[in-house]
């Protein structure tokens, strides 16, 4: 705006209006005034931007018309890529994480180009991913992220659906994991004296605590998750070979959408196949098999076949 030759010397109110029109960011004149003040500061706090308030024209202007913010040397292709990424995140996000990310990326774009030639709200119109409604507990995403990132213990109240019991938990979190649009917080639970995970939907009133963060083995959890389809391993079952005999129709889907890196397909002449997986058996895997119905004709080992069948009883 400060470079706009048609409408130079914007006022704070005009900048506020432009933020809304172009970025759909609601802000206030005093916030913009603070932002300008910060831009004037020397790096790394500010940009050393030569902005002054012109009392004659009653608006803001760059005293150096050639000034550019920052040193990001983004090409047009870089900017296009960022915009595509932004569109993808907006599409996936649907009110989940897109807003903060969008603002951050818009800042990057602003740093590079300083102008937005089109509103970003249309960016995702050509791209559509599954956008389920916001789930319960997702409002705590930011707090959980901070707790994991900065290693801050948490206190929260957890409700167990199965036991139908509320418990106050103190957790030393380290991982947020999404699986099938269900979100989980992993950490060392003081109550359980081991690493546990808790569904966001069952967590109430999380609070950040000022106490030492407990360090413990996290790699075991990462290894487990890397070798599993889902987050609920079947108790006492280690990583093992699981084989499925599947119909010719469903073989196409397994070929197109492998469910795990370990997946191997041995096709038979009639198009049916033997699917082999090397992983830790999980409840989610059993449910996936059930979801395929009669297309999965045999399951091995037998205990897993029995376990899967028992879910239907």
């Amino acid at each position: 705006m400060l470079r706009n030759k048609m409408r130079p010397y914007p006022t704070l109110e005009q900048i506020v209006a432009a933020c809304w029109d172009r970025l759909e960011i609601e802000t206030k004149p005093n916030t913009i005034a603070k932002d300008i003040e910060r831009m004037r500061m020397l790096p790394p706090v500010g940009f050393d931007a030569p902005i002054k308030f012109d009392r004659y024209h009653w608006g803001y202007v760059y005293t150096d018309p050639d000034f550019k913010i920052g040193n990001l040397d983004l090409t047009d292709a870089d900017i296009a890529s960022i915009r595509e990424s932004l569109a993808l995140v907006q599409s996936i996000g649907a009110g989940r994480i897109d807003e903060k990310f969008g603002h951050a990326m818009q800042k990057v774009l602003a740093t590079a180009a300083e102008v937005f030639d089109q509103p970003q709200s249309n960016a995702a119109s050509y791209l559509q991913t599954m956008s389920p409604p916001i789930s319960r507990g997702f409002a705590h995403f930011e707090l959980f992220s901070r707790a994991c990132r900065e290693q801050i213990p948490l206190s929260f109240v957890h409700y167990g659906y199965k036991k139908r019991k509320f418990t106050a938990v103190q957790l030393h979190p380290f991982l947020i994991k999404e699986f099938d649009n269900k979100w989980y917080l992993f950490g060392y639970s003081e109550n359980h004296q081991e690493v546990r995970h808790f569904g966001f939907d069952r967590i109430y009133s999380p609070l950040l605590l000022n106490k030492p963060y407990k360090r413990f083995d996290q790699q075991t959890t990462f290894d487990l998750l890397a070798n599993a389809h889902g987050v609920f391993p079947i108790p006492d079952k280690k990583k093992q070979r699981i084989t499925l005999e599947v119909s010719s129709l469903i073989t196409h889907y397994f070929e197109a959408y492998p469910i795990h890196n370990s997946q191997q397909i041995k096709k038979h002449a009639d198009g049916t196949a033997k699917i082999t997986l090397e992983l830790v058996p999980t409840i989610e895997l059993a449910r996936l098999i059930l979801w395929h119905g009669y297309h999965v004709q045999q399951i091995a080992p037998k205990w897993f076949a029995d376990f899967t069948k028992a879910l239907t009883l």
Binding site: I152, S155, V157, Y159, R164, K165, F166, T167, A168, Q170, Y204, S205, L207, L208, L209, N210, K211
Partner: protein, 138 residues
């Protein structure tokens, strides 16, 4: 300069009766004392029944007759309004905010009704030891 009092968290586990909410946490703040509860509806009532809290509920420290009055209830209706459940499997987390208790070692009661029945949300002998408190980050 006077130190700003911090919010202290205590994990608790108390119940006033078999069918009543469990007291889960106590937060001694400078502005309020907050008590967090969880309640799982029982099959005693066809649709799980209802819960409510009397606006006259107060806290009382042992050895001190000062009542610390209820200021706000979040997640539960204040009587005469009832929070009605729809099934015997419903559950509810709620918080009660009272006038702030002093930040010192103490034992207090939460009284919904003096000389009440087991159905009233009366909790006795809740012990606070400052050494067990954890500072809550803002």
């Amino acid at each position: 300069m006077k130190k700003q009092p911090k919010d202290l968290l205590f994990h608790a586990s108390a119940s006033s009766g078999k069918a009543n909410p469990s007291l889960l946490r106590v937060i001694l703040g400078s502005q309020t004392t907050r008590l967090d509860f969880g309640y799982a509806a029982s099959s005693y009532y066809i649709k799980g029944g209802w819960i409510t809290i009397s606006p006259d509920t107060f806290l009382q420290v042992k050895g001190d007759s000062t009542p610390y009055l209820l200021k706000e209830a979040i997640g539960i209706s204040q009587a005469p309004v009832k929070l009605k459940f729809k099934s015997t499997k419903d559950y509810q987390f709620f918080s009660l905010h009272f006038e702030p208790l002093p930040q010192k070692d103490l034992v207090f009661d939460m009284i919904e009704k003096l000389n009440g029945t087991p159905n009233d949300f009366n909790y006795y002998g809740i012990e606070i030891k400052l050494k067990n408190g954890v500072v809550v980050l803002v």
